[in-house]
């Protein structure tokens, strides 16, 4: 089954039998990064009501009772209209361009000091709670692999270049001196 592609690869590189084919389980266990189209999102789902209780149990200690943040963790709500001020407040609601990033980052790195302990449905519910608290979804909207990638975040168009296809071309963007105008 691998013979055809292996032959092709070996012809390209000439390095025979270096590396081994991973099992599907190995790939699945590591394949945690969620792109903007959400195709790696796992089965399951949640909503903001469930997320509120989880937040109180696992997140509030750092992010604050009203998600206002603390010295240990950033605010998760607010900041609308502050991006042009000298004290911009960058939250998921005011700044983050993609909702998929919220799911990805919670599952990957939260709660800090207990990373990897949340179940998939809990991650969906916490994602829903943050979206709800930023007035992006309703309290009982279901967030899952289908609904999450479809959410347009309020600041999605606030990044240059807006089109993801144009990001890679540093020269075409007119970047100079390590800066892109």
């Amino acid at each position: 089954m691998m013979a055809a592609s292996f032959t092709a690869a070996a012809q390209t590189s000439g390095y025979k039998n270096v590396g081994r084919t991973p099992t599907p389980q190995e790939v699945q266990a590591m394949d945690i990064a969620i792109g903007t189209d959400g195709k790696e999102l796992p089965p399951g789902g949640g909503n903001a009501k469930l997320g509120a209780q989880l937040f109180a149990d696992k997140c509030m200690v750092c992010h604050g009772e009203n998600q206002q943040g603390s010295a240990q963790a950033p605010a998760l709500v607010g900041g609308k209209g502050t991006l042009t001020s000298m004290r911009p407040m960058l939250t998921a609601g005011s700044y983050w361009p993609f909702a998929t990033t919220i799911f990805d980052y919670i599952r990957r790195a939260m709660p800090r000091f207990q990373e990897g302990t949340l179940k998939t449905d809990e991650v969906y519910s916490l994602t829903a709670f943050i979206l709800y608290r930023n007035d992006i979804i309703k309290e009982d909207d279901v967030i899952d692999a289908k609904t999450l990638p479809k959410i347009k975040m309020p600041n999605r168009d606030g990044f240059i270049p807006q089109n993801l296809d144009e990001i890679h071309d540093y020269k075409k963007r007119g970047c100079k001196l390590g800066h892109c105008p």
């Binding site: 390209t12 084919t21 590591m30 004290r87 998929t100 000091f113 890679h168 390590g178 892109c180």
Partner: protein, 430 residues
């Protein structure tokens, strides 16, 4: 700034000349009482693995941190700057290479257990052990690594950077240069077979936060390394042991440490750091993101802030130059506050996207003056002044100190003021 941090820093400045031993203890990264020159350290077999002289006391210095005290396994400080003012040559010792890991301590990885998975839009996904990686031809190249926020005039380290008492460590300590040994990523990508739809790679680390970064395939196929060696030995844990991505000339955040996975994908994956923390917010509310390449930059390391000249006479001005755009082509020094500029002497090998050591002979007449340096890279780009940088950003210079975000890539010319008494101060102004 935390008062005790301020106290620690002034303590260091006041006692550095007299109490090298105490300084070594005070600057210990973890804040624990691990002094490198104590009897327990002496009990180590220094014939087996050496240590520097007890008279050499330069150490990395932490920036004010988020977690104080931190739970086990986490940095107290957010980042540790290299003592660039004490550097010689163009290579940074691995033990002094700056460290930023977004607050995570290095994972304790047994290289025999570690694997790199390359998958996604490839013909044949493969898992490589460290031994597998060493079966490929490797290369050794000099490259600098620099934090996007190196020298940023605002943000967590901004107040240190603009202080008249700032040292070069405060202003430019988030850059370092090493001889990196590893396998070109292009070799591995050709080996697994890249599908034509693949336009980006995402790299992912093994630390608790599992840092991810999206990098264009053009760069991945160009000069990126899977590095396992640094300055002739294995990577240090703080630098990604056993393997890391090395992405020459690009913002430090691209150089994923403790690398466990590379996935080939069609679009950038918009990880938390790259899509929400590293874009540069402009005054009009729009953000530039994925700026990648660090600009041309220099800093005079000697004489620099906090050092003292011993009366009028000859001094060799010494400094470092680098550019993410390629090789440094020329370096100029001004000893009269920018009125005249003269070519400096290049005193080390010149490699693309690497530090270069420069020197400039100077007869100091004992009067107050300002020393500056600037470089031009092989793309013809010349290091800007603060005013030129502000014009490029379409802001007033004071924006750089007043903004509530971190102005990244701040590669403006660094002025050092030499006072008539020989003391040297940071003279950056906005």
């Amino acid at each position: 700034m935390k008062p005790k941090d301020s106290g620690r820093r002034s303590f260091l400045k006041n006692t550095a000349a007299l109490a090298g031993l105490a300084v070594g203890a005070a600057q210990t990264v973890s804040g624990q009482a691990a002094a490198p020159e104590t009897s327990s350290a002496r009990a180590k077999d220094l014939h087996g693995y050496g240590e520097r002289s007890k008279f050499e006391t330069a150490t990395r210095l932490g920036a004010p941190g988020l977690y104080d005290p931190a739970p086990p396994g986490y940095h107290r400080d957010f980042g540790f700057r290299t003592p660039i003012q004490d550097s010689v040559g163009f290579i940074t010792p691995a033990s002094l290479h700056f460290v930023i890991a977004h607050g995570y301590e290095p994972p304790d990885i047994d290289p025999a257990e570690h694997h790199l998975l390359i998958h996604g839009l490839v013909e044949k996904p493969l898992m490589f052990s460290l031994d597998d990686l060493k079966r490929f031809p490797s290369v050794t190249r000099a490259h600098f690594l620099e934090c996007n926020a190196n020298g940023a005039p605002s943000g967590p380290t901004g107040q240190f950077r603009v202080s008249p008492n700032a040292t070069a460590q405060d202003t430019h300590g988030f850059t370092s240069c090493s001889l990196w040994t590893g396998v070109p990523l292009s070799t591995l990508l050709k080996h697994v077979g890249v599908k034509t739809e693949a336009k980006w790679i995402i790299g992912e680390g093994s630390e608790k936060g599992k840092h991810t970064k999206s990098i264009p395939i053009e760069k991945a196929m160009d000069d990126v390394l899977i590095a396992f060696g640094q300055n002739g030995e294995a990577l240090r844990p703080q630098q990604g042991y056993p393997i890391r991505l090395l992405v020459p000339g690009y913002e430090g955040i691209n150089n994923v440490k403790w690398l466990r996975r590379i996935k080939l994908v069609e679009e950038p994956y918009m990880g938390m750091w790259e899509s929400t923390k590293y874009p540069s917010l402009r005054p009009d509310g729009l953000s530039r993101w994925f700026q990648f390449q660090m600009g041309p930059r220099t800093v005079i390391t000697r004489p620099s802030g906090g050092q003292k000249l011993n009366g009028a006479g000859f001094y060799e001005i010494s400094g470092l130059a680098w550019s993410g755009g390629g090789a440094v082509k020329s370096i100029e020094v001004s000893t009269d506050n920018g009125k005249t500029w003269r070519e400096a002497e290049i005193q080390s090998p010149v490699y693309p996207k690497a530090h270069v050591r420069f020197g400039f002979g100077w007869d100091w007449n004992g009067e107050e003056t300002i020393l500056q340096s600037r470089c031009t890279d092989e793309l013809g780009e010349r290091q800007p002044t603060v005013v030129e940088l502000a014009k490029f950003w379409k802001v007033e210079p004071e924006f750089f100190v007043k903004t509530g975000t971190i102005p990244g890539h701040f590669n403006a010319i660094q002025p050092w003021k030499v006072n008539a008494d020989g003391s040297v101060q940071n003279a950056i102004s906005f």
